[in-house]
C-alpha cells in the first residue's frame, strides 16, 4: 500500500529522499482535513507583509508620463514638469505608499528626465540600463550576504517598463528601437503610444501594425501577457493582439451625462480616458494592475534577475562544478578570490614602498651633490678672498715701505735743508730742492693716483741725491 524507503547500511542511516515525480502517489482522503485554507494562509501572510511594485517610465520629455501615472493610480503624485534643457539623461525615482482596503502597496515610479532632448542621443540608453542593473546588483548583494534579511527586503528591481512612443503616426524612431533593444533582456518592456488623441483611428491601426512589425523585424522582445493559465489565458490573448496600447492620460474630471469622468476637452469634442472606444487606457490598467501584476513580478525575479545573476557570477569567476568534485564551490572560490585580491594588494604595497625608497635615495643623492657643490663654491670663494687679502696686504706693505722711505728722506732732506740754510747761498739749492721737491711731489701724487685710493698715505720714494 504505501512505499517504504528503507535505508541500507547503518552508517548511512537517514532516508533516501523521493524526488517529485518518483513514486509519488495520490492518496484519497477519507474526510475533510482542512488544508484547503492554505491559499488563504498564504495570502494573509503576504498581505501582512505588503506588496511592492516598481514601474519605470521611459519616454521623451512632454509625452505625458507623470500624467499617465497619476491617472493609472488615481492619485496626484507630486512632481514638477521637466525642462528640455537637461544635459544628459537622468532617472528620478519616487516611492509612494498606497492603501486599498487591506492591501498595502509600496509603489516606486522611476521616470527618465531629459530623454531624447540632447543633440547626440547615442548614449541616452546607458543611464537607464545602468539604473536597472544597479537594482539587480543591490538585490544580488543582499542575497549573497551571510546575514541577510531577504523577507524584509524592499525590492527595488524594476518590474515593468512602460516605453512611451511619440504619436508621429509613421513609425518608430531609431532612438526608440535602440533603447528598447537594449532594455528587452533586462526588464519587461511594455510599449505604449502616448498622447494618442493626436492620431485618428485609421492612422492608429496602421501605426500599430507598423510598430509591431518593426519590433519583430528588429528582434525586440516585448512583454507578452501570459497565456498558459486557463483563468486568464483568454483575456491575455486578446490583449496581446492590441499591443501596443494607445493611451491618454488626464487627471481633470468633467461632467458627461450625469457622471464625473476623467477627460480632456477640446473645442471639437471631449476625449474620455476610460472609454474603450476612445483609447486603450482601460486595457492598460487591466493588464498592468488587475490581471498581471504578480506575473510581472515573477518574470522579473525568475527570468531577468536570474539572467543577471548568472552573468554576474560567471563574470566573477564562479562556475557550477560537477556535483561530486567540490561540495561548496562558492565558498572556496570566494576564499581563492579573496586571497588573490589580498596578494595583489600586498604586491602593490611592496611596489609602492620600493618606489618610495628609490625616490628617497635619488633625492638624497641630489642633495648630497648640491651640498658638495656648495662646499666647493665656498672653498673657492674663500681662496679668492684669501688671495685678494694677501695681495692687498702685499700692496699695503709695499706702500708702507714707500711711506717709511719717504719719511726718512723727508727728515734727511729737512736736515740737509737746515744745514744748507746755514751754509747760505743755498737759495739756488733751495730752489733746486724745491723744484725737485715739487717735481717729486707731483710724481708722487701721480703715483698715488694710480694706486686705487686705498692707501691715502702718500708713499714717497724720494730719491735724495746727495747734493
Amino acid at each position: 500500500m504505501e512505499a517504504e524507503a528503507n535505508s541500507g547500511s547503518p552508517e548511512d542511516s537517514w532516508a533516501f529522499i523521493q524526488r517529485p515525480g518518483e513514486g509519488c502517489r495520490t492518496v484519497p482522503l477519507a474526510g475533510h482535513v482542512g488544508f484547503d485554507s492554505l491559499p488563504d494562509q498564504l495570502v494573509n501572510q503576504s498581505v501582512s507583509q505588503g506588496f511592492c511594485f516598481n514601474i519605470l517610465c521611459v519616454g521623451e520629455t512632454g509625452l505625458g508620463k507623470s500624467t499617465l501615472m497619476d491617472t493609472l493610480f488615481n492619485t496626484k503624485f507630486e512632481g514638477e514638469p521637466a525642462t528640455h534643457t537637461q544635459p544628459g539623461v537622468q532617472l528620478q525615482s519616487n516611492t509612494y505608499d498606497l492603501q486599498e482596503s487591506n492591501v498595502g502597496l509600496k509603489l516606486t515610479i522611476v521616470s527618465t528626465v531629459g530623454f531624447g532632448d540632447q543633440i547626440n542621443k547615442e548614449d541616452s540608453y546607458r543611464p537607464i540600463v545602468e539604473f536597472i542593473d544597479a537594482q539587480f546588483e543591490a538585490y544580488l548583494q543582499e542575497e549573497l550576504k551571510i546575514r541577510r534579511l531577504l523577507h524584509n527586503y524592499h525590492d527595488s528591481r524594476i518590474h515593468a517598463c512602460l516605453y512611451f512612443i511619440a504619436p508621429t503616426g509613421h513609425s518608430l524612431k531609431s532612438l526608440d528601437l535602440v533603447t528598447m533593444k537594449k532594455l528587452d533582456s533586462k526588464v519587461n518592456v511594455i510599449p505604449i503610444i502616448a498622447k494618442s488623441d493626436a492620431i485618428s483611428k485609421s492612422e492608429l491601426t496602421k501605426f500599430k501594425i507598423k510598430i509591431t512589425s518593426e519590433l519583430v523585424s528588429n528582434g525586440v522582445q516585448i512583454y507578452q501577457f501570459p497565456t498558459d493559465d486557463e483563468a486568464v489565458a483568454e483575456i491575455n490573448g486578446t490583449m496581446n493582439a492590441h499591443l501596443p496600447f494607445a493611451v491618454i492620460g488626464s487627471t481633470e474630471e468633467l461632467k458627461i451625462g450625469n457622471k464625473m469622468v476623467k477627460a480632456r476637452q477640446y473645442p471639437w469634442g471631449t476625449v474620455q480616458v476610460e472609454n474603450e472606444a476612445h483609447c486603450d487606457f482601460v486595457k492598460l490598467r487591466e493588464m498592468l494592475i488587475r490581471v498581471n501584476m504578480e506575473d510581472l513580478r515573477e518574470q522579473t525575479h525568475s527570468r531577468h534577475y536570474e539572467l543577471y545573476r548568472r552573468c554576474k557570477l560567471e563574470e566573477m569567476g564562479f562556475k557550477d562544478t560537477d556535483p561530486d568534485s567540490k561540495p561548496f564551490s562558492l565558498q572556496e572560490t570566494y576564499e581563492a578570490k579573496r586571497n588573490e585580491f589580498l596578494g595583489e594588494l600586498q604586491k602593490k604595497e611592496e611596489e609602492m614602498r620600493q618606489m618610495f625608497v628609490q625616490r628617497v635615495k635619488e633625492k638624497e643623492a641630489e642633495l648630497k651633490e648640491a651640498e658638495k657643490e656648495l662646499h666647493e663654491k665656498f672653498d673657492r670663494l674663500k681662496k679668492l678672498h684669501q688671495d685678494e687679502k694677501k695681495k692687498l696686504e702685499d700692496k699695503k706693505k709695499s706702500l708702507d715701505d714707500e711711506v717709511n722711505a719717504f719719511k726718512q728722506r723727508k727728515t734727511a732732506a729737512e736736515l740737509l735743508q737746515s744745514q744748507g740754510s746755514q751754509a747760505g747761498g743755498s737759495q739756488t739749492l733751495k730752489r733746486d730742492k724745491e723744484k725737485k721737491k715739487t717735481r717729486e711731489e707731483k710724481s708722487i701724487s701721480d703715483r698715488t693716483c694710480t694706486t686705487p685710493g686705498k692707501h691715502p698715505v702718500v708713499p714717497c720714494a724720494l730719491v735724495v741725491c746727495a747734493v
Binding site: E2, C24, P39, N74, Y96, E298
Partner: protein, 363 residues
Amino acid sequence: MDPLRQSPSRSSSRASSPRTLPSEMLGYVGIEAVLDQLKIKAMKMGFEFNIMVVGQSGLGKSTMVNTLFKSKMWKSTMPGLGVPTPQTLQLQSVTHVIEESGVKLKLTVTDTPGFGDQINNDKCWDPILGYINEQYEHYLQEEILITRQRHIPDTRVHCCVYFVPPTGHWLRPLDIEFLRRLCRTVNVVPVIARADSLTIEEREAFRHRIQENLKTHGIEVYPQQCFDEDINDKILNSKIRERIPFAVVGADQEHIVNGRCVLGRKTKWGIIEVENMAHCEFPLLRDLLIRSHLQDLKDITHNVHYENYRIFRLNESHVLPRGPGWVNLARAPASVPAPAGPQANPGPSKVGGWAKDNSDEEC
C-alpha cells in the same frame, strides 16, 4: 468589486521608510486583485509540507499521522508480529500527494522507528539532526547554483512532532536532551501520546509539569514567543502556548456513536472519540498544524532555521569533507551573535534570535 467605492485615504498602517510619501487615492484602482493573482498562482504550483514524527515505538505515531491526514499513509506497525525492533535508528520517509478542493498538497512524512528503544540511547538524536541538516544542505546547494531552478524543491522538515509517553510525572532525561537540541534547528511540537491512559486531572497536572520543565531548560517549542509579530499573533499564540503539549489520541477506525460515524478507539468502558474536544485535544493539534499555522511553520523554517543554518555554514571554514564526519555539523550554531539593529523592533527581524542558548558539550 464596486468601481466607485472610495478607498480610505490614509497612508499605510505600517511604518514607511522615510522617503516614501503617503498618497491619497481618489478612486478605485484594483490593487487588491493581486491577492487573487497570488491565489491562482499558488494553487497552480501546489504546496509542499514535510513533517517528522519522533517518539518511542508503540506511542501511536503512525496512527496519529493517519488520523491527521485521514488517509492510510502508514501501515500501523504492531509489535510482536515478527517484525524485529531495529537495532539502530533508521529514518523512513513517505511522500504522498493529497488534494482537497483544488488545493494540492505534497506531504512528506518522516518516521523514526527505533528512537529511544535501545538500552543505551546516547546520541540517538544524531541521525535525526543529521537528516534535518542534510535537507538544509540540499536546499542551500540548490540555492547557490549559478543556473538554478525556478522552484527549488523543498524537502526541509517544517515541523517535528515529538511524542511524550504518558507517564504522568515529568519529562524524561531523554526527552529533555532531545528537545533541547532540536528546538534550535526545527519547529518542535510536543504532544502527550496515548492520552487515553490519563484522566483529565492527571492530564492537566502532567501538562503543567511539562511546561515547567520546558521553561526550566529554556526549550522554546512552536509557536515560539520571539517570533510573534503583532498583538493579534501574540494573543492567538499565547492561547496555544497554554495548551501545549496537546494530549492526543490517535485512531483510524470508525465506530458508530449516537448514530454518527466517528473516528475512535473502542474499549470495554466506552468509545474515545478522537475529534471530540472533551475527550482529547486532537482537533487542536490538527488545527494548529494544518488549518491555521501550516504556512507559518513553513515561513519560520525558511526565514529563521534555514537562515541560521546558512549563516553557520558560510561562516565556518570551507574545508568541509562530506562523509561520516559530516554528522558533527549537526550541532546547533553555538555563538550566533544577535545582529545589532533591528532586534529592538518587535517583529521584523526574525533571524538571529537564538543568541541566548549556549552550545552543548557534544563533540
